[in-house]
């Protein structure tokens, strides 16, 4: 029986990443995707060297040109070279994609770690209505509980109403009274509903808070809400737009889109990390670490996080594809990256307006987006197979 030894001979921990790399490279499509993504990144980074024209060079005598030897992909409504614009747009689109993904990964991982690790432990904030007693952790059976709770809520409601009353401007005294009363009743009602639906049945720990937050965010259909959010900053003429414009100049729309996409980007990461940590928490190595007196931070960062790296990386690749499509979608709808800064989405938007004059111009930006998302999806797939061969399907 000479066969038996081979598996056991493989070194276990030391070559973990080497093994993953080996298995990943066996996934041909994933390897090809990695090359394509790298190529796209290189093309964008070295756009100034590769692009035959400046992305903003207008040629009024040569608009809507078809693909020819001078203009590889033709020209747009202003006679700008589409190929050059796509290369420069790649810088913005990929930048947005990567920054959003990294920020989402950081936020999602952070919150997921906290939620997973502290799940079941009541929140310690003893402020106002969110005190541990009130949250049902202890002393809830006492007779004085009900009056105390109600009084505390009324105090809070009145405080909120007072702040509103103090800062708001009302048309008349009656108006002020109406609004204040509505608010007190509204806040008290909302609080009671909140109490009965969440806290009484589920103890208020940081996990509940984060999970409930994710629930609320998930209940909002992402794209419609992103439209609202992006619209918030899209007007450079008045209000908030001016402030942002002064701070950021031309980078305004890029920063705004990163912020808006990150706001929704961390949800899936947080859920996945939380789930992984909840599973790992019962693992023996974790209990051993706690038993040896390791601090919370040490347990989380040195023992739990390294074991959650695999799903985090897979999620990052998927998030990257999502972020790039989402940016393109918003820019396509005119609410994302604004002209003259080029992004794949807003080039597509421009091409859509000339769909009858120059149908081919629509094809190219979409191809760039498709290539990027397709390769990130394949990389994710390859990574998943490489990290956990059992999941292969």
């Amino acid at each position: 029986m000479t066969v038996t030894g081979t598996v056991a001979l493989e070194p276990r921990r030391a070559s973990g990443w080497a093994l993953i790399r080996q298995r990943f490279l066996k996934h041909r499509l994933a390897t090809v995707s990695l090359v394509i993504l790298a190529l796209l990144i290189l093309l964008s980074v070295f756009a100034p060297l590769i692009a035959p024209y400046s992305p903003s060079q207008i040629d009024a005598t040569n608009v809507y040109a078809a693909s020819n030897s001078e203009h590889l992909m033709g020209t747009d409504a202003l006679g700008r070279d589409i190929f050059s614009r796509l290369l420069y747009a790649g810088r913005i689109s990929l930048l947005v994609g990567f920054v959003v993904t990294i920020l989402s990964a950081l936020i999602g991982t952070g919150l997921g770690l906290l939620a997973g690790f502290y799940s079941g432990q009541p929140l310690l904030a003893a402020v106002g209505p969110f005190s541990p007693q009130w949250a049902g952790a202890r002393h809830t059976e006492g007779r004085s509980f009900w009056p105390k709770t109600i009084i505390r809520w009324l105090v809070w409601a009145a405080l909120i109403a007072f702040v509103i009353r103090a800062t708001g401007q009302f048309a008349s005294v009656a108006d002020g009274v109406f609004v204040t009363v509505t608010w007190v009743i509204g806040v008290a009602l909302a609080a009671l509903i909140f109490y009965f639906t969440f806290i009484r049945s589920i103890r208020l720990d940081i996990d509940s808070v984060i999970s409930r937050m994710i629930d609320i965010f998930l209940a909002i259909p992402t794209l419609p809400f992103l439209l609202v959010l992006a619209g918030l900053f899209s007007n450079p003429k008045i209000g908030l737009g001016v402030t942002l414009d002064q701070w950021l100049g031309p980078a305004r729309s890029v920063t705004v889109i990163i912020f808006v996409l990150t706001l929704f980007g961390w949800l899936s990461m947080a859920r996945i990390v939380r789930g992984t940590i909840l599973n790992l928490r019962n693992a023996e190595f974790n209990e051993a670490a706690i038993g040896l007196g390791a601090s919370d931070a040490r347990v989380i960062l040195r023992h739990l996080l390294p074991n959650a790296v695999a799903p985090i990386f897979v999620q990052i690749t998927l998030d990257l594809g999502h972020a790039i499509v989402a940016e393109a979608a918003l820019s396509f709808l005119g609410l994302g990256i604004q002209e003259p800064t080029a992004s794949w989405g807003n080039i597509l938007n421009g091409a859509q307006e000339a769909i009858f004059q120059q149908p081919t111009a629509v094809f190219w930006p979409g191809l760039f987006i498709l290539l990027t998302t397709l390769s990130t999806n394949y990389i994710g797939d390859g990574l998943r197979d490489a990290i956990d061969p059992r999941s292969r399907g």
């Binding site: 509903i193 009965f196 639906t197 629930d215 609320i216 794209l223 419609p224 209000g239 396509f332 769909i355």
Partner: protein, 395 residues
């Protein structure tokens, strides 16, 4: 189970409240409002007039005051008026737009299930075959596709180049299931009486007979179902149709016309869904095929088709069916962008336009409706799972 359902429904209230607060705050924090836009587009409007208008709409107050008032009205079923459509926002969204979106979404869901599920089954049964690799590749392309780009490419191929399908919209101009009746008023004179009868509507027309030099009544009986625009006092003339009605042929023509406009958006919306269902069905079936009871079925000597379709598929379909609920938010997201590309007047297009127009009441209604749909879909998914899989019990 009932207790659990009620609890979940109760839990929706605070979530919807939170969503409404969040959305309202963000909307109201936007620079500029409806009146600002009106003032910009109308140079004759004075500052005083604009201020009056702002006060009338309550736009001069801070957002939380506006939210309090909005909430107060909303819980009574009053969601404000759409300032572009001049009708109540809820009426606009529910009566004029929701049906179109539901039709598009239902069509896309059906299409994607009809294609995706069989493809997934085939792919799993013939794992690692050429068919499996091709299907898997197209599934990856499918969910990597940007919907808006795919929609535009469909437009270019089928509307711009081949010219076989319309480029967008809901239906052809003036398309209606109502057609003029063949029967006409063969008389000239004023309508004196309109009364309902058991077999339709009787319209009495007073005719002046020049030979006799006197007026006499002539009664026309409009069949039931005919919508007539004549009123008492109107003059009818010979050749004027009784009115308009729905016939089988006219209804079919109208339905076909609508269908022609639905094809491209439905395909565009369905493509990601098809990819998802294929992948999911494949994974679910592969999961089940390796179970002991499938091996037992095979060991009993059952035919392979019976093993797959009777034993494996039934169990594999459980997680797939429950996922239908979870796919709804994806459909909704896709619908917004598909409707915009194809200019299809559904909730998505309404939302997009109301945001551009700063006409926020319909936007609030739509977003809350979509949030409600998402929450209900989640609940239904959990309940369906509990019903189909006896191992899961809610307490």
């Amino acid at each position: 189970m009932l207790n659990y359902t009620l609890k979940r429904i109760a839990a929706m209230v605070p979530i919807l409240l939170a969503v409404s607060l969040l959305v309202f705050a963000l909307i109201q924090l936007q620079p500029g409002n409806f009146v600002d836009d009106l003032k910009l587009s109308n140079p004759n409007m004075t500052v005083q007039e604009a201020d009056n208008l702002r006060r009338a709409y309550g736009l001069d107050q801070p957002w939380y005051v506006q939210y309090g008032k909005w909430l107060g009205h909303a819980v009574q079923g009053d969601f404000g008026v759409s300032r572009k459509q001049y009708i109540p926002a809820a009426t606009f969204v529910v009566q004029q737009r929701m049906g179109n979106t539901l039709l598009l979404g239902a069509g896309a869901l059906t299409l994607s299930l009809l294609i995706g599920i069989p493809l997934g089954i085939l792919s799993a049964v013939k794992q690692y075959s050429v068919l499996d690799y091709v299907t898997t590749f197209f599934a990856f392309v499918g969910f990597s596709l940007p919907v808006f780009w795919f929609g535009l490419m469909l437009l270019i191929v089928f509307s711009v180049n081949l010219k076989v399908l319309p480029a967008g919209g809901l239906s052809s101009a003036n398309a209606s299931p109502l057609v003029s009746t063949e029967a006409t008023f063969d008389a000239t004179g004023p309508v004196t009486k309109i009364e309902p009868a058991s077999d339709g509507t009787r319209v009495t027309v007073e005719i002046y007979d020049a030979d006799k030099g006197a007026a006499e009544d002539k009664v026309f009986t409009l069949p039931a179902g005919v919508k007539s625009d004549v009123q008492v006092g109107d003059y009818v003339s010979p050749g004027q149709p009784y009115g308009r009605s729905v016939t089988v042929a006219s209804w079919l023509t109208y339905a076909l016309d609508r269908l022609k406009y639905l094809v491209l958006p439905t395909v565009a919306l369905a493509v990601i869904q098809i990819a998802t269902w294929t992948r999911f069905m494949r994974a679910a079936l592969l999961d089940v095929i390796n179970q002991d009871y499938v091996r037992t079925a095979r060991a009993k000597g059952l035919r392979e088709s019976r093993v797959i379709y009777k034993h494996a598929l039934r169990n594999a379909l459980i997680p797939v069916i429950t996922l239908i609920g979870l796919s709804l938010p994806g459909l909704v997201n896709g619908a917004v962008i598909t409707e915009t590309v194809f200019n299809y007047p559904g909730m998505g297009l309404a939302l997009y336009q109301s945001i551009l127009d700063k006409d926020y009441n319909p936007a609030m209604v739509i977003l809350l409706l979509l949030a409600l749909i998402t929450l209900l879909a989640n609940l239904l998914t959990d309940l369906a799972y509990a019903l189909l899989s006896p191992r899961i019990r809610f307490s």
